[in-house]
């Protein structure tokens, strides 16, 4: 592996050595990253000098999950549900309000600056916007080579060799090494971003909507590239997206977020075939049907997502929940926050009444909505 060749020459800290050892031993399926009760509140400041805190946007509110080595965990949800914030918080790009993330059982949020720098070699990120994520004043070589440089690969010739190798790996022309980002197309730029993430030979990559900004024709190329790299290098992905089809295609397990909370987390097939949370049901029913002759019954949610600065009491979805309506508006939904519980075979759901989410219930809810859709 390219990253290893130079890393072996440079002084490697134990974390890298142990991580690659585990990888070599085929540690697939074991937990790589564990997020526990991660909370991120953005304070809303006010007052005369703008220093008094008058509230908080609860972007991420008590989220716990695990990412297993070698898997792709998809994370879906509407705009503003906190997916991207969660991705940045677990990489410690923005400080968490509380909670902890363990990477190989090391508490990421407690590491000091030196340890954090070492840990960052294993945790990389690919951003959504291929135009904003590359420094326009640096050449491709400088961009991709920055990580190795920061981590002690000072030999310019070796670095260039590594960069060329990485460019080839992500399917870019190696002779473009001295070009600037604005000379590339969106898809090519995203490949540069991926090469930059790979340069440190990481284990875990947060892909923050890596294809959302790309043309549909380019999306599949980049997805296939991510897929191939995962096979080849044994990478683990946290794949954040709002495109459900893309997530279904690439993920092993999928988490669904709503208003800063994880509401459902399960293997991809059970989740798409039989979602257990009313929000997931509604979300999946919004996926367009490719066959125009088939009329699909859709569950359209009423109203807008409530403000994350003042989320509803109890279950956060209760203001828009079709199931709650069907069950005669039980009080529990408004008073008690549902526990994120296992409803069988590791299928986690945060709903008091997830057992009521049956095909019949969904059908009858859609039935009742049909006139609205026709109108």
């Amino acid at each position: 592996m390219s990253g290893q060749t130079w890393a072996d020459g440079a002084a490697i800290e134990p974390i890298e050595a142990s991580a690659s050892l585990v990888r070599a031993n085929g540690g697939a399926g074991r937990v790589l990253l564990r997020a526990e009760h991660v909370v991120k509140h953005f304070p809303i400041r006010g007052g005369l000098l703008g220093v008094t805190t008058i509230g908080a946007v609860r972007a991420v509110d008590d989220v716990s999950f695990e990412v297993r080595r070698g898997e792709t965990l998809g994370l879906v949800g509407e705009s503003g549900c906190g997916k991207t914030t969660l991705g940045k918080v677990i990489l410690r790009l923005i400080p968490a309000t509380s909670g902890q993330v363990y990477v190989d059982d090391r508490p990421l949020f407690d590491l000091n600056a030196t340890q954090l720098k070492e840990a960052r070699r294993d945790l990389q990120v690919v951003f959504q916007d291929p135009y904003a994520s590359l420094n326009p004043r640096m050449t491709v070589g400088e961009i991709v080579g920055e990580g190795p440089l920061v981590h002690g690969l000072t030999d310019k010739a070796k670095r260039e060799e590594l960069v060329r190798e990485l460019l080839a790996k992500v399917g870019l022309n190696q002779s473009h090494i001295h070009r600037y980002p604005h000379e590339f197309s969106g898809g090519q730029r995203q490949r540069i971003g991926i090469a930059r993430a790979l340069a440190l030979n990481p284990e875990f990559i947060v892909c923050d909507e890596p294809v959302s900004a790309l043309d549909v024709s380019i999306q599949s190329q980049v997805l296939n590239l991510l897929d191939d790299l995962q096979q080849e290098l044994g990478l683990t992905y946290l794949f954040i997206a709002h495109n459900l089809a893309v997530v279904e295609h690439i993920s092993d397990r999928v988490g669904v977020m709503y208003l800063g909370k994880l509401v459902e987390l399960a293997d991809v097939d059970p989740l798409y075939a039989a979602p257990k949370h009313p929000y997931t049901v509604a979300l999946l029913s919004a996926v367009p049907e490719p066959d125009p002759r088939r009329r699909k019954k859709r569950l359209v949610l009423k109203g807008d997502v409530p403000s994350p600065a003042a989320p509803p009491e109890g279950c956060r979805f209760n203001t828009r929940c079709w199931l709650r309506e069907q069950l005669g508006n039980p009080e529990r939904c408004e008073t008690e926050e549902p526990v994120f519980r296992d409803v069988g075979a590791g299928h986690l759901v945060a709903c008091h009444f997830s057992e009521e989410v049956t095909p019949q219930a969904i059908a009858s809810a859609a039935e009742r909505q049909l006139p609205v859709i026709g109108a």
Binding site: R120, F127, E146, Q174, H178, H182, R196, A199
Partner: protein, 315 residues
Amino acid sequence: MEGTQLGQIPAKATTGAGQGAVDEVDLTPVRTYWQLARQRFMQHSLAVVGLIVMAILVTLALVVPTITGSLYAKTSLSLANHPPSLLNPFAPLGYDSIGMNVFIRLVKALQTSLFVGFSAVSIIVVVGITVGAIAGYVGGAVDNLLMRLVDVVLSLPSFFLIVMMVALFGTGNAIVVIVAIGIVGWTTAARLVRAEFLSLRETDFVQAARALGAGDRRIIVRHMLPAAMAPVVVAATLGIADSVVVEATLSFLSFGISPPEASLGNMLTNAQEFFYRQPILILYPGLTLILVVLAASFMGDGLRDALDPRQRVRK
């Protein structure tokens, strides 16, 4: 230019092809950021004119006073009010009412003004970038404190502040004038840099650098400052023009540099006194001032375009 770059192509092509068959050979010559910036600047014809004019002015201001020494302060009453004449290479602009050589004096004044302008702008840029970068990068209470300081400085009437400082600490001293202009003028640069830093701090490429493990210094120096520099460079070039005008105004009001030292401002004062006898004397320092200000402004415009890497270099 093209010739030297063409020379690099064969080397580039062989390394590219040597790596593998998939590679198409990239025949675009390798150009660094500064080479590209220079090319973009050169495409801006007004900026080039500004640069040439500024270069001529700076050369004159450096060379002529060195040769003529203290002649700029020499009075010879027998030559008073001698008219300008191109036939006299030693005094093409004639002599003023107390017999000072106008040309030598004008060049010396230009030297003073440019010295004041460049020095004041250096103070403005250094203080402005430092304060703005700290405020924008650290944020929070530090940012709040520094920006309130900026508000305080901005809320004071700047020109009176300068006049007061010059009056208190030494009329006629160029250094005092420079420091006074600097102390009053850094706020704009600080605000520009802070605003840039605030938005840059959240950009994906800065976040990506952080994710790579780059330290604060690298992020500031390599990623944020270069991106924040463009507006500062433009403000600084325009600041040269401003500072020269402020110095001229101060000297015109006899607060700045006073005779026998020469400055564009005190030459204007002098010319105004003898306006009815020799009206043309007001033209020389006036025109010089306009030249300096225009040249600096045009250069500022050109630099703004040149420092933006997204601007295309026309073939």
